[in-house]
Structure formats: structure tokens, C-alpha cells
């Protein structure tokens, strides 16, 4: 059996395993905000009425949505988890192929397989339906091509790295900040490429800055490298902002609007540091300490750094994600770092092992060390998820390991079931900015009047003329402050000259469904 065929078979088996676990978790009732958001938007695109192209173009992050969208053909409800299961298997395939190209030892493939089979973080990426798998794929490809560039010095690899960074940014916008930490790296590469007898980087920098010709060369090359690497991601973001401006009258619609992205609401409610610290007094992830947490989560990254000792670029490259997460912690100080920012260290460490394992003479000792570190990481992966500050991460591991059926979406499902059971396909006014977890479970999307439709505003003004039901967020709903459809709005309707009568039909902790009767 050829190695390529073996990897293909393992990938297929792994994909089947992930799909099985994902469907099992789904049946147990595990859902998360992100996957529900994609499911709901997918339903709009396939079954909705009105400006669906805008939903396709302005739903963010783009690529995870499109990936989920593709699997909607198989099953709308399972599309997100199918995408993540298959996507993570693809990640395995890419990494395993990188191994068999470089290493003539099947141990590494099986070591990788072991990590992919039981590492809780990877299982979370594969079976949660979140976009973590896409982030990991393009993070891996970005760094892989960067390392290839160091070896080959070809424009091809640096361009591919740049394209991967573009996709990465459109999988998770926060990765745009990664560009900041490549600035010193690029300067270091340029200094090193100058034809100087001096070996020490600091003195090379000194010499090149004090010689007009060398200075010009250094500046030209550094600038050119910045442009080649970063112009695509930066301009892509700029273009996307332009599209947002022309179609939503807001440059930052894709990151600020709850109609465009799931993270706006999630970060205000589920990922919010302030909520936890004020309510539960948990010690949040502190800056500086966060790097230590990453090393504890993935001690193999230390091996990666060791493998590249005495290689300035590569060490600097390995340090960029540390600087990146530290920056995220400061920049987004109200939000916990989600699992993907931990997993990138695991992927990076594995990448370094893939590239550099061949240089190790004591293979046996190295393999034993890898196995030990692998086991430690699986344990730390479990612990980090189990003690995660993000509720849906914690829920995931509890459903998986302790078979504790989560109740986070029960109310939404109950509400959706009630709406599904309403006779005669009635029209329902619903704000999917906050109520997308309900909309995701509603079968007939055409019966919903949502903000992406032009008639939504008119329906909010005079609901009686457009809808026969209205879903409002109860005062207990944590998203209550982020939607117009609240009890306060109903109060205004009642006091206004709308001549409508509202009858409460179904109520959960978070939602109240009213029937509208117009007199």
C-alpha cells in the first residue's frame, strides 16, 4: 500500500469517526452559537425570500459560512458539524502528506493520527461545527509556506503564504493583527539577505543603516517583502469593508453587526470577561501569563523552538503567535481567548516537528519524548477545555466525556418546535440578530420576517399588517438589550394607534411568542 493511499484511507476513516462523534453530540443536544448562526443563514440563502445575495456576501466570517453552506445540501441542521468534521480530516490529510513528503517513517503519521483521534482540542475543532478547523488549516498552510520560503526563497511560497493569510483573515478577522508581528521578522530576513561579511544581525543592521547604498537596498527589500506578504490581506479587508459600506452603509458591518456575524452577540454574552469577573469573580486570563498558558497547553512548542535553535528567522516566526495572543488579550480585553488561539500552538509545534524531525539523530529518544509530550498535551487539552472560561467549550467536553446533556438550547428548540407546529404557515416577525438560535430550528424560513428583508422595518412599524405572530426577547434574555423586539417595544405598540391586540401564546425563559390580532 503506497503511503499516499494509506494517508487517504486514514483521512476517510478519521472523517467517518468525526462525523460519527459530531452527530452523536448533536443528538445529545450539543450546539453552539457559531454553528447555529451558520445554519440559520444557510436556511435564509436556500429557502428565504428577498435579498439573499446580501446575506451571502455580508455574512462573516465568509469562508466558514461558505463551507457550512456547501454541506447544507446534505443536511441543513448538520451542515456545520459535517463541515467541521470533514474539514478537520482534510487538515489531517494536509499535515500527513507534509509528513510523508519529508519523513520516511510511519511513526510520525500515526503520532499525528493519535493526536487527531483523541486530543480534546482537535475533537472540539472537528465535532463542534465551529470554524476552528478552517482557521487551523490556513494557519498551518500559512506557516508551512513561510518556512518553505525560508528554504527556497521563491516568490511562489511567499505569495501562497499571503493568500493563506487572506483566507485566514476571512475565517477569523482577528488574525489580521498577526501581520503586526511579522514586521520585525521581515526586517530580520532583509538584513540577513544583504551581502555582508558581518554575521551578527545587530551589527549588520548598524552597517546597513550607515551606508547609503545598503540602506537603500535594505529599505527596498524590506518594503517589497511587506508588500508581497501583506498587501493581499490588507487590501482584501479594505475591499470587504468597501462592500460593507456600499451594501450596509457601515464599513465595519461584518465585525460590528449581529446580523453579519455571530461573534458580536457571543462575545457580549458567552465570551465576556466582565460578566464572569463581576458575577463569579473568576481570575481571567491575564496578559503575560497567557504565554505561559499556551506553553502549558502545548509544551511541544518548546521542542519546536529547540529544533530551530540558532536560526533567527524561524525562532522569530515561532514567537509571532505568542506576541499575537498577548496582543489579542490586550486589544480585546473584554473577551476570553477561544480554543482556536490555543490550538494554533499545537498545529505550529506539529509543523516544526514535521519539518525538522529529519535533522534529529536520536530518533528513538525523540519519538519517546514526542509520545510523552503528546500524552501530556492530550491531558492539558482536556483540562483547558474542562476549565474553559467559555461556556460552550466547557459544555462540549462535558457532553463528550461525561455524557451530560446540555440544556443551553432547550428553550430555543422548544420555542422553535412550537412555531413549527403552528397551523397554516403563519407569518412571524423575528429579529434574527439575537434570535438566530431559534430561527435555526424553524423549518419554514419563508414564514419569518427578518431584518435582511426590506419589509422588516415596515413590519416593525405596523406588525399587524405584515405578521400574525411576533417573537420578542423576554426581560430575562441576556440579549434583551440588543434587539428592538422586546416587551418595551410591545408596550409602545399597545400605546400607539396601531389597533392591535397581542395574545401571549408561548413563553420560555428567554422568549415570548405573541399572536397579533388587528382590529
Amino acid at each position: 500500500m503506497s503511503k499516499n493511499f494509506m494517508v487517504l484511507v486514514l483521512t476517510l476513516v478519521l472523517a467517518g469517526y468525526y462525523v460519527f462523534v459530531a452527530v452523536y453530540l448533536n443528538n445529545m443536544g450539543y450546539y453552539n452559537q457559531e454553528s447555529l448562526f451558520y445554519i440559520e443563514k444557510g436556511k435564509i440563502v436556500f429557502d428565504g425570500i428577498g435579498q439573499r445575495l446580501k446575506v451571502i456576501g455580508l455574512t462573516a466570517p465568509l469562508f466558514p459560512f461558505y463551507a457550512t453552506f456547501v454541506f447544507s445540501i446534505v443536511s441543513e441542521q448538520l451542515s456545520a458539524v459535517l463541515a467541521s468534521a470533514v474539514g478537520t480530516a482534510v487538515l489531517f490529510n494536509i499535515m500527513a502528506n507534509a509528513i510523508i513528503k519529508r519523513l520516511d517513517d510511519e511513526f510520525y503519521v500515526f503520532f499525528l493520527l493519535g493526536i487527531f483521534l483523541i486530543h480534546p482540542g482537535i475533537l472540539y475543532a472537528a465535532c463542534s461545527g465551529k470554524s476552528v478547523y478552517l482557521i487551523l488549516i490556513f494557519f498551518f498552510l500559512f506557516y508551512l509556506n513561510f518556512f518553505k520560503f525560508y528554504l527556497s526563497n521563491t516568490t511562489f511560497h511567499v505569495s501562497i503564504a499571503s493568500i493563506c493569510l487572506v483566507v485566514l483573515v476571512f475565517c477569523d478577522y482577528k488574525f489580521i493583527w498577526l501581520t503586526l508581528f511579522f514586521l520585525p521578522l521581515v526586517l530580520s530576513i532583509s538584513i540577513d539577505s544583504l551581502n555582508l561579511s558581518e554575521k551578527e544581525s545587530v551589527f549588520r543592521l548598524f552597517i546597513s543603516f550607515n551606508n547609503p547604498s545598503l540602506r537603500r537596498k535594505l529599505i527596498n527589500k524590506t518594503f517589497a517583502m511587506y508588500i508581497i506578504i501583506f498587501i493581499l490581506p490588507l487590501v482584501s479587508v479594505l475591499i470587504y469593508k468597501m462592500l460593507n459600506l456600499t451594501h450596509a452603509a457601515d464599513l465595519n458591518y461584518f465585525i460590528d453587526s449581529p446580523y453579519a456575524t455571530w461573534s458580536v452577540m457571543a462575545e457580549k454574552i458567552d465570551y465576556n470577561v466582565l460578566l464572569d469577573t463581576t458575577m463569579h469573580h473568576k481570575l481571567p486570563e491575564a496578559p503575560i501569563v497567557i504565554s505561559t498558558r499556551m506553553i502549558l497547553y502545548c509544551p511541544m512548542i518548546l521542542v519546536a523552538i529547540y529544533l530551530y535553535r540558532q536560526r533567527t528567522y524561524q525562532i522569530l516566526t515561532l514567537l509571532t503567535p505568542f506576541a499575537f495572543v498577548e496582543f489579542l488579550r490586550i486589544k480585546y480585553d473584554k473577551v476570553y481567548l477561544a480554543q482556536q488561539y490555543y490550538l494554533i500552538f499545537l498545529i505550529l509545534a506539529l509543523l516544526c516537528v514535521v519539518i525538522r524531525a529529519v535533522t534529529i539523530k536520536e530518533q528513538k529518544a525523540f519519538k519517546i519524548m514526542l509520545v510523552i509530550l503528546g500524552v501530556v498535551q492530550i491531558y492539558s487539552g482536556y483540562m483547558f477545555l474542562d476549565r474553559s472560561y467559555v461556556k460552550e467549550e466547557q459544555t462540549f467536553i462535558r457532553v463528550l466525556m461525561k455524557k451530560e446533556a446540555p440544556d443551553s438550547q432547550n428553550e430555543n428548540i422548544d420555542m422553535a418546535n412550537y412555531i413549527n407546529a403552528l397551523p397554516g404557515n403563519p407569518r412571524l416577525l423575528i429579529d434574527d440578530g439575537v434570535a438566530y438560535p431559534v430561527a435555526a430550528f424553524i423549518k419554514n424560513v419563508q414564514g419569518l420576517i427578518m431584518p435582511y428583508e426590506e419589509r422588516f422595518l415596515s413590519a416593525v412599524e405596523s406588525p399587524g399588517r405584515y405578521a400574525s405572530y411576533i417573537l420578542v426577547a423576554s426581560t430575562k434574555n441576556p440579549a434583551n438589550g440588543y434587539t428592538q423586539l422586546t416587551p418595551k417595544y410591545l408596550q409602545i405598540l399597545r400605546t400607539g394607534n396601531n389597533k392591535i391586540y397581542l395574545e401571549k401564546r408561548f413563553e420560555t425563559n428567554d422568549w415570548i411568542l405573541y399572536k397579533i390580532d388587528q382590529h
Binding site: 521563491t154 511562489f156 527589500k221 517589497a224 517583502m225 508588500i227 508581497i228 498587501i231 456600499t246
Partner: protein
Amino acid sequence: MSLDIRDVLVQDKFITTADKDRILGIASNLGQSFIKVALNFGFISRKNYERSLINAGYPLQQIREEEFDRELLDKIELKFAYEHLALPLRIENGKVVTLMADPTDELFIDFIRFTFDMEPQIIVASDLDITWLSHKLLGDKYVKSAVYELLNRDPANSAIITFTANQLLFIFISIGLIIIGLFINFKIVSIVLNVLMSSFFLIAIVFKLFLALVGSRFELFQAVTREEVRKVKNEDLPVYTIHLPVYKEDKLIKKLIWNLQSLDYPREKLDIKLIIEEDDDKTLNAVRDLDFPAVFEVIVVPFHMPKTKPKACNYGLHFSRGKYLTIYDAEDIPDTDQLKKVVALFAKLPSNYICVQSALNYFNRGENFLTRMFTLEYSYWFDYMLPGLDTMDIPIPLGGTSNHFKMANLLELGAWDPFNVTEDADLGLRAYSKGYKVAIVNSTTYEEANNDFFNWIRQRSRWIKGYMQTYLVHMRNPVKLWKKVGWKGFLGFNFFIGATPLTFLAYPLLLSVFLFYVAFDLRFIRELFPDWVLFISIFNLMVGNILMIYVNMMAVFKRRYYELILFAIANPIYWLMHSAAAYKGLWQLIVNPFYWEKTNHGLSKVNNPTNVVK
């Protein structure tokens, strides 16, 4: 009895005895006269030769106005006259008045005696004048062959007919349908056209990015390594023909010789032809006035329409003797090891590879805005696009120069189409459709980038017109083309040859719609862009532009021309210039399809050092 001119040259110390023996050896191998070899293989300059002739009592005569007898001329073959630099003109006073560059050439004198049974009356003249007159008087059948050979052998591939009846029908019916559609429902038809154009642009650009990435992947791949070049033995090298078609390039002749002398190839195995037009006295006189030895033979193309470079090259083929052939422009500076690399590559490649294209780039890239933009464009085209096409097995539109052919296969293809003003692109496709392949070699020829706006427009309008011509010729029967070149070849041809002029023609229209929309927010434009169309259009505008800018940046990054990288941003302006040239080309295609817009060379003030490859 007068001295043999060979001895005079030795006596005058213009050549050594060893040189004389070497010249005799080469002359005997080639079947040429002693003086032809001496003057054309870098042994003696024409000025020195004239001095020796005068010393020996043979002053040069002006012969262009000499009378001639057609019947007598019919008895001599042009090639014989050309190789011996001698020409019998008429019979006068019982003698054959004969022009000779070497009045002591016994072989030719004997030829006159045996052929006409008379003694020759020798008029000593400059070899260049004799060459000029012999081609003018005897070159008729060769020039006719140069013009009509392809037309006679393969009329379907000749651009002598620009638009066929079916093509005209198709064009007018399409225009008619669009106009009728616009009258019936202006808005819908405009939107459809708009979306079609935008989508076409985007697909073309994404495809180009893809090809550039494929091409860039192999940027470290060396078709021929230095080691392989070193292993090439001089004695095994075949004769290599170099065509230098020039027109009024008098300023460049000296540079040309320096560049040619730098080529790492045995001198006697080079068959270099400087091909000039009959009315080009400027270049002829520049060659005459050289005060150092020339390394090329001059061929004069007799007057015949169309006056194009492919016709001149076709004419030159009749006098070429190489196994391989390449074309350089007068200002070209090829890598010194280019010919050896090509020989080594041909030896490695399967026999169906009949052409090897070298990369082209510019030595005066930093001169002004135009030369910088030109460098960006060429770096992208030759370093990424062509290798990309090559890898994807899509027909390669050959570059104007530095394409190296196997002579036998070139002749089999019918050589260049004299009616096509981008004969190179046309030939690339013809070769591909006959099952032949083109390879790319890792060697560069540095040219002079056009640094003058109007000169640039002239040159570019010819290129774009040529692309239109080539497209029309090969799309006379699209199904047949599809069958010949396969779907990849067909799509590649449509995207590169067909789409190029079309995109340049459409670009200013789309841009003006956009600018009017931005500046005036005109209602009727707004109606043509409903939200979803606006979405697609803005995406196309932004993504299309940035991708094209990016691939240009990639190419100069590869060449390490870091200082040019930001100029890629100016591409939208550069494309507007292309559009101006495209409209000029379109106009000429209709009113004057075979007119060859001459590009002036030698305008650059940048010094062009020879590109020695060690």
C-alpha cells in the same frame, strides 16, 4: 600580374597568415568566397579592406546606377552571387561587365569565362553595394516566396483576409441583436451585458493569477543548469542562425556587434544575418562606416508589400544555413550562454519540441515611468505567465524575439505569416495545432524598453492589432481549432489572444461608467446597477485590480527589482494607455491591417552592459 588580395591583406597587416588560413578553411567549408568570410566573420573591417584595395590599385566604384541586362542576370543564381560578392551585369565591348568585391576571386572569374565564354570587365565595388544590387535584381522569386509561401501552402492560416464572410456576419448579427435588445428593454439588456463583461474580466484575471502561481512555483527550476552548459563541447555545436531584422537602426549597429561578439558560441558556427530593407540606406551606410570588423552577413530584402518583419525573416530563411534559428532585435542583449543553453535543452527535450522561448526583460527599466511599467509587465509575462502556460500545456504566444527554432520544423510550418503583425503569437499557435511544443529556457534577453509615449502607443497598437488578427485567423473555424488544440488550448487561446484586446477595449468603458457613477451618481447608471449587480461589479473592480497588481508585484519581486514594486499600483493607468493603443489597433485592423507600426529603438540614454553569464 597583380597581387592576390589575400596576400595584400596580410602584407598590409590587417590579417595574419594564420587568419588567412583560417578564413580559407571556413570559406572552403561554407562554399563562400574568401572576402565574404573575412568581412563577415570578424576578421577585417570594411574600412581597412577598402584601404587595402586602394593600396592595391582598386578604388571602389559607385554601382547602384549601373545598367544591367536581364537575360544575362537570368544565368546567375542569387545565392552564388551572394556567396561570392560578385555579379555580372551586362556585356559591353565583348566583355562581361562584372561587379566584384574581390577582383582577384579566380573562382568567380572562371565562372564568368565558362558561362559567357568572354573575359570579365571587373568593376570593384563595396560588398554591401553588390549585395544590395544582387538582391534587388535577383531576389524577386525569393521575396515572392517569402510573401506567398504560407498563403499557397496553408491559406486557412494566412492573415491576408482579415475578416471572413462568416465572421463579418457573426459580428454584425451580434451587434444587431444587441441594438434590438437595447431598444426592446434597455435596462435588462444593459444589465446582462454589464454582468457578462464583469464576470468575464474576473474569470480572466483569476485565471491569470492561477497561471502566475503555477509559473512562480517553478521559478527555481532550471531547464538547463550551468553544469550542463559547461559540458557542451564546441566541436559538437551545430550551425546557429541568428536573424536580425532591422529597419533604420543605424544608431544601434555598433552596440549590436558588441552584443553579438559577447555570445559564447564558436564564431564560424554562427550564421548571423542582418536583414535590411531595400530602401534602408541608413542602416546599410552604418554598416559600411564601421571601423571594426562586422560579425554578420547583410541580406537586403527587395521591395515588396507588405513591408513587415515576418516577410523579411522569411526572405532571410532562404539564405540561412543553421540547424537552429533565433531572432534578435538590434538592441537585444542576450545572456551570453543563451545559444548553448538552447542547444543543450533541445538535446534533452523530445523531438516534438520545436521552439524554445527565452525570457525577455529590460536593461533600461529605471529610466522613466513607461520603462518601469514595461519591466513590470514583461517580468510577469515571461517569468510567470509563459512558464505557467507551458506547465499547463496551453499554447504559448511566442515573444517577438529570442525564440529559438529548429530550422527544419520552422520551414515545415511555412515559417512566419508576412500578413500578420504579431507573427510570433500566430506561429506559436500554428506549431501547437500541429502537435509541436514550445519550451521555456532559463535565460534572459535584455531589450530596450520603450521610453517614449507615442512610440509606445505605436508599438502596442501593432501588438494588439496582431492579437486581433491572430484571433480572427484561428477562429475562422472554432470547432476545427478546438479539435486541433483541445479544450485547454482553445480556452487558453481565447483567454490570451482573444481576451487581451477585448479587455483593453472594454476597460475604459467600464471605468467611465464607474467614474460617472461615483462622481455624478447618475440615475440611469444606478438603474443599470441593481444591488446584486453593483455587488458583483464592485467586487470585480476591486478584486480584479488588486489581483492584477499583485501578480505584477510578484514578478518584479522574483527578479529582485524591489524598487519597482510600488509602481505596480499604477497599473490601472498603464491599462488605460493599453486601451488607447487597442482602439488605434482596432482602427488599423479595419483600414490598414498589414501596416507595420515601426518601433523606434535606440532612444534610451541608459548604458547597456553586456549580460555576461559566468
